[in-house]
Symmetry: C2
Subunit: 352 residues, 2 copies
DNA sequence: CTGTTAGCGCATTCAG
DNA sequence: CTGAATGCGCTAACAG
């Protein structure tokens, strides 16, 4: 059998009959090494399949090439796409990703952040909803000089770079679209009134109604059943929420759903009651997940540039890490875009 | 501002007026330390917000508490759920996750595996499709004594523990279900004949047809447009594949789709042509993603226990890492389960 | 061009 | 019960 243990610089040095430092020079292509010696060293490296120990390197150099990514919930397709796009940029620039998903558990959040810190990650991308404990931890990290970029968060923590999309505007546009179609009884599905307040897309919903003199009625705000907290809203939440709304004596005529999955759940519930979409009730989603174009009817929704946000966040983080940018904390906001499909307009009326 | 640099054992030792070793003992709760000294040390630790450097620890102890997870494609909901369930087990046992998604790029796969290796991860979970380069790398790692568990892979690499679900059987059952409904012209959507061969669910499809004396016709195997490779098959692939099948002079009457998203794309294409599901054409998916219960009609599909596979893989890996298990490489296979919904049977005929 | 020395932060070993 | 010495693998900073 081959060696059980990893070969070290010293092992290579012995075989090549040089000093460890020389091997180091060959590997890092730093300093001068004669062609002949380089040959010998290279051969030894290949022979033992030597790979430098990143831990020792980092300990010595006091820097790692690892970035922590803190995500709310990996089932959320937004998280998935974000993680993918961040990773792509990281790999291109020689960094790796340490991942933690919190799944709405403060303990997991803390454990993840601790792991990041203990492993001395070079920086962190946070995409979780804010929590008290989490924000405190992040602030401690910032004091220690750790670069942090947040994605899709509220402005709360002013100490980090921020990347967002303008959810408020996207929601506002979507609701105005419904109003322009003549709807006056517009409901929200996806979070209880309590938690919704923290979501910009909910604020956009409310503000659009107010601006057009319409009421935000509490009974037209349908959160998840147990109201467990500010988590991602699901298909089942949308289905249940729609059922409740349809049981009201005074029904809404249009639904603004917190995200596309919630919208699809709502769609399904309406269909099961024999209602026609958009004839009897119009539905708007949010996020423009690929599937939203394939439902029946296809879903009107608000697109947010997820991958762009991930890439931008990664770039901004790397700029901080590599010291290319210092000082003032930056903010980047992407626009959302309303995509009108058949769930709010009958095909005949559709513009294109 | 606070220190720019991380405090070390020595900093704590100075403040508490003890030797570094004593601080180490307090932190690891190893050896004897008097209550009084422990107090002093604890206070110093809190004051400086000291966190041990995991890099230095690992260098010294020659082991990390980090596990590498190699995934094909994070957009695939299977990957997401897998990552989540693995992570849960890891966190419970004090491990963290290093993540890499390959996105069908051999380079990314190599880069990821190298990063795992360089950082001396304690073990690896692989859920990617096999590639020549990848398997070679994994084999090198195994020779170095690195524990590796594969999920959902072919038996190929005999040197690692394996966790799978019986996709072959799941597919076989699904196709038999279609046959029992009277279908004789059954098509496959989701991979070209070339790549499909490597998928057990495709083999199950073929074997079920053969067993019942039916042909596997090449024109009834619809892969993705560009046929880029053995990647995850998408909604768009399903849509396009269905369109091609519907253009044939001799149409299939039933579709077995590689996964639920592909099935939904196919569903959508059929609907757009004004066809009735399952009246004109029956459709079966695979994976039982949450959405499959909410389509119209709800999708008959094959469930595989994704989270269980992830948890089991993580447990098996940790058993190897902690030396609780040695020797013989193990194999665990979970059963798949056919879930019959309305996309293959009209509600009236449905058993329950 | 190459080698020597020293130390990153921690924990194992052995002495007090 | 506590401390001192030593080295994990690597690389700056100096010699030669």
């Amino acid at each position: 059998m081959a060696k059980q243990t990893h070969p070290t610089l010293l092992d290579i040095a012995k075989i090549a009959k040089v000093a460890p430092m020389t091997v180091s020079r060959v590997i890092n292509e730093s300093g001068y090494v004669s062609a002949e010696v380089r040959q010998r060293v290279r051969r030894a490296i290949d022979k033992l399949e030597y790979h430098p120990n990143a831990l020792a390197r980092s300990l010595k150099s006091q820097r790692t090439h690892v970035v922590g990514i803190l995500l709310p919930d990996i089932k959320n397709p937004f998280s998935g796409e974000l993680a993918g796009s961040i990773q792509q940029v990281l790999l291109e620039r020689g960094y790796s990703a340490f991942l933690c998903t919190t799944e709405q558990s403060v303990q997991r959040e803390q454990a993840g952040l601790s792991a990041f810190f203990d492993h001395r990650v070079a920086g962190i991308v946070v995409a979780t909803l804010e929590t008290k404990a989490g924000d405190e931890a992040l602030e401690r990290f910032t004091r220690r000089g750790m670069p942090i970029v947040s994605v899709g968060r509220e402005p709360g923590l002013a100490v980090v770079d921020r990347v967002t999309a303008n959810h408020w505007r996207g929601a506002f546009d979507a609701v105005e679209h419904l109003i322009s179609l003549g709807h006056k009884r517009i409901a929200y599905i996806g979070a209880s009134a309590l938690h919704a307040r923290r979501l910009r897309r909910f604020q956009g919903f409310c503000d659009a109604l107010h601006e057009h003199g319409l009421d935000v009625r509490d009974e037209w705000i349908a959160g998840p059943a147990g109201d467990s907290g500010p988590g991602y809203s699901t298909l089942a939440d949308g289905y249940a929420g729609m059922q409740r709304l349809l049981d009201l004596s005074r029904r809404p005529t249009a639904i603004f759903a917190r995200n596309d999955f919630t919208a699809m759940g709502a769609l399904s519930a309406a269909r099961d009651r024999g209602l026609d979409i958009p004839g009897d009730i119009a539905i708007v989603g949010f996020d423009n997940v690929p599937l939203s174009a394939f439902t029946s009817p296809p879903l009107t929704t608000v697109e947010q540039p997820t991958a762009e946000q991930g890439r931008r966040a990664a770039q901004m983080l790397l700029e901080r890490i590599e010291g290319e940018v210092e000082g003032e904390h930056r903010e980047v906001s992407f626009d959302c875009r309303l995509i009108v499909r058949a769930s709010t307009q009958t095909p005949a009326e559709q513009p294109e």
